[in-house]
């Protein structure tokens, strides 16, 4: 029963995240960037559910709008890794020999890297910004997708439908992108949701370090980076954004885990 519970809770958290992002202006009347210097450092109350920050901005409102940034981070970063990793892995799996060795060798090297450290290097060179951070995070997630796509392609190209397509005169690109990709979709989707939690953690972590989204952006990591200066006097400035990051990451991890157990009977034993 635990596996369906994971899927249910994960779906609920992600749905909530999407709803908050979409309907933020309807849920709250306040502006995430409007300063009110007469009401700074208000502790959590009915007027400010999660308190107000050093400029009197409502933390609850900023967290709601932050859901947009979180979804943006996930979509952009996972999207970029998929676009880069999947074709590489499929080419490696389909064509084999030198192409396979070359692609797998380079992704293996990338895989062993301390991702965050190299993301910091890239961001330092390109300049701190959320986009550069997401670019760096995506690059270091490419090996995960390339390996998975390669292994799937190796299995799927042996299947009758691939051979039938080949016999009917379909070229490698047609076989790869219509027949193999369609059948590889579910495992890739599971991997994407499992990576999404990590994306939220890395992107908000780098924003917290001042390398990603910059204040005053209502991004959760950036909010914590500002709030940490007032840790002793206004703990809620760090408490709520960080709790939201954790719940969002947990939601994606539970969803990915549950989805894998639900769709892939091989994993019913509980193997990670």
């Amino acid at each position: 029963m635990l596996r369906y519970r994971n899927l249910t809770i994960g779906t609920a958290v992600i749905a909530l995240l999407i709803l908050c992002g979409l309907f933020a202006p309807l849920i709250t009347r306040q502006d995430p960037y409007a300063q009110n210097l007469a009401a700074t450092f208000q502790p959590p109350s009915a007027a400010h559910f999660f308190g107000s920050d050093q400029y009197g901005r409502d933390v609850f409102t900023r967290i709601l709008y932050g859901a947009r940034w979180a979804l943006f981070e996930v979509l952009l970063s996972v999207g970029m890794s998929l676009i880069l990793g999947v074709p590489l892995g499929m080419a490696a799996g389909y064509f084999g020999s030198t192409i396979d060795s070359l692609i797998m060798w380079s992704t293996d090297i990338l895989y062993a890297f301390p991702g965050i450290v190299l993301a910091i290097l890239l961001v330092a060179v390109l300049g701190p910004s959320l986009f550069n951070t997401l670019l760096a995070i995506s690059i270091f997630a490419v090996p995960v997708y390339a390996r998975l796509a390669r292994n799937l392609t190796l299995t799927l190209k042996q299947m009758e439908f691939s051979e039938a397509a080949h016999a009917l005169g379909a070229g490698p690109f047609r076989i790869l992108f219509t027949h193999i990709l369609r059948n590889a979709f579910v495992p890739l989707l599971i991997q994407a949701t499992l990576t999404a939690g990590d994306v939220i953690l890395s992107a908000s972590g780098l924003s917290f370090l001042g390398l990603g989204a910059q204040p005053p952006t209502a991004e959760w990591g950036a909010m914590m980076s500002e709030g940490r200066n007032f840790l002793g006097v206004a703990t809620y400035l760090s408490l709520f954004p960080g709790l939201t990051i954790t719940i969002a990451a947990l939601g994606f991890n539970l969803f990915g885990d549950g989805l894998r157990d639900f769709l892939d009977p091989k994993f019913h034993s509980g193997r990670r």
Partner: protein, 306 residues
């Protein structure tokens, strides 16, 4: 056997060579004038030209890279733009703190991860297993900078049980190493449980039980030893993630390690230092992965002799 180890060993210099090339070109091929970056943003044109000539940026790329590599092999990583000190010396001063922190964290993570993973597998399906797995998936989802800040606020600011920042005594290690260990411990516990569950239903485990071995002997000597290969592999991969987490943890706790040096370097756009730290980090990750490969070869003779 020798060919397996030899192949792994041979890959190390190649990987290091390629990564050094990658890191070296990252700083030079991307937009921006490296000489200006190295000289600092406020430097005047004459200083920039001097730096360009001194660092050899007016030379062709291959010559620059060869020179950089030769120097790096001799332990010269250039001078920090901020402090004008040799980067190698600055890293060497900070490195012991990072090694101490990551070693402490990693030991905690392996100890707790293995213990809880094995227990969860033994008591599969019970409330104990469920509670452990819920904690594990939560542990892997916690933002480590958040838990670090909250722990610091509660145990150091409010209760005053541990020092707030720095690395002055052994008590300073408690919060940073525990918060840093959380995520890898969770991942190792899940991996251990999964790997153990696959082994526990094998025939030879039933045989071991049937011949009257104690549960401890069955689970630890027969099951865990065979379950260890994927676990050790995942531990190796986790080390790279742990180093990344250390950068964040060190910044939160004001830890005098390499990670904080790197963040400071980014703030001052100190490229020589960033480049040096990245090289050293990659070196450590590659060495740890080599050790993991050796351990896997030792644990599973089939890999060695295949």
């Amino acid at each position: 056997m020798n060919s397996y180890l030899a192949r792994k060993l041979l890959a190390v210099p190649i990987i290091l060579l390629l990564t050094s090339l990658l890191i070296f070109s990252a700083v030079r091929l991307l937009p921006g004038d490296p000489a200006r970056l190295m000289a600092g943003m406020q430097a005047d044109q004459a200083t920039v030209e001097t730096v360009r000539h001194r660092l050899g940026f007016d030379q062709p790329f291959t010559i620059q890279y060869t020179r950089f590599l030769t120097r790096a092999l001799h332990g010269d990583l250039g001078n920090s733009i901020r402090s004008q000190q040799p980067v190698a010396r600055e890293i060497a001063q900070r490195l012991p703190y990072t090694i101490a922190l990551t070693t402490a964290s990693f030991s905690i993570a392996i100890l707790f991860g293995l213990t809880f993973g094995v227990l969860a597998a033994i008591y599969r399906g019970t409330w104990f297993d469920n509670a452990l797995m819920v904690s594990a998936i939560s542990g892997a989802s916690v933002a480590n900078f958040w838990i670090a800040l909250m722990a610091m606020n509660f145990f150091a600011v409010k209760l005053g049980w541990v020092p707030l920042m720095g690395a002055a005594s052994w008590r300073s290690y408690i919060l940073p190493s525990l918060t840093l260990a959380l995520a890898p411990a969770a991942v190792i516990a899940r991996m251990t449980r999964g790997s153990m569950l696959e082994i526990i239903h094998q025939d030879y485990i039933r045989t071991a039980r049937a011949k009257g071995l104690s549960p401890a002997a069955v689970y630890l000597k027969h099951a865990l030893r065979n379950a260890l290969v994927p676990i050790v592999t995942s531990i190796g991969l986790n080390f790279a993630a742990l180093l990344g987490g250390a950068v964040i943890t060190e910044t939160v706790f004001n830890w005098p390690g390499v990670g904080r040096l790197m963040i400071d370097a980014v703030r001052y756009r100190d490229y020589a230092t960033i480049q040096g730290i990245t090289l050293v980090t990659v070196f450590f990750v590659v060495v740890i992965n080599l050790l993991v490969d050796f351990a896997v070869g030792f644990l599973n003779p089939r890999i060695r002799f295949n």
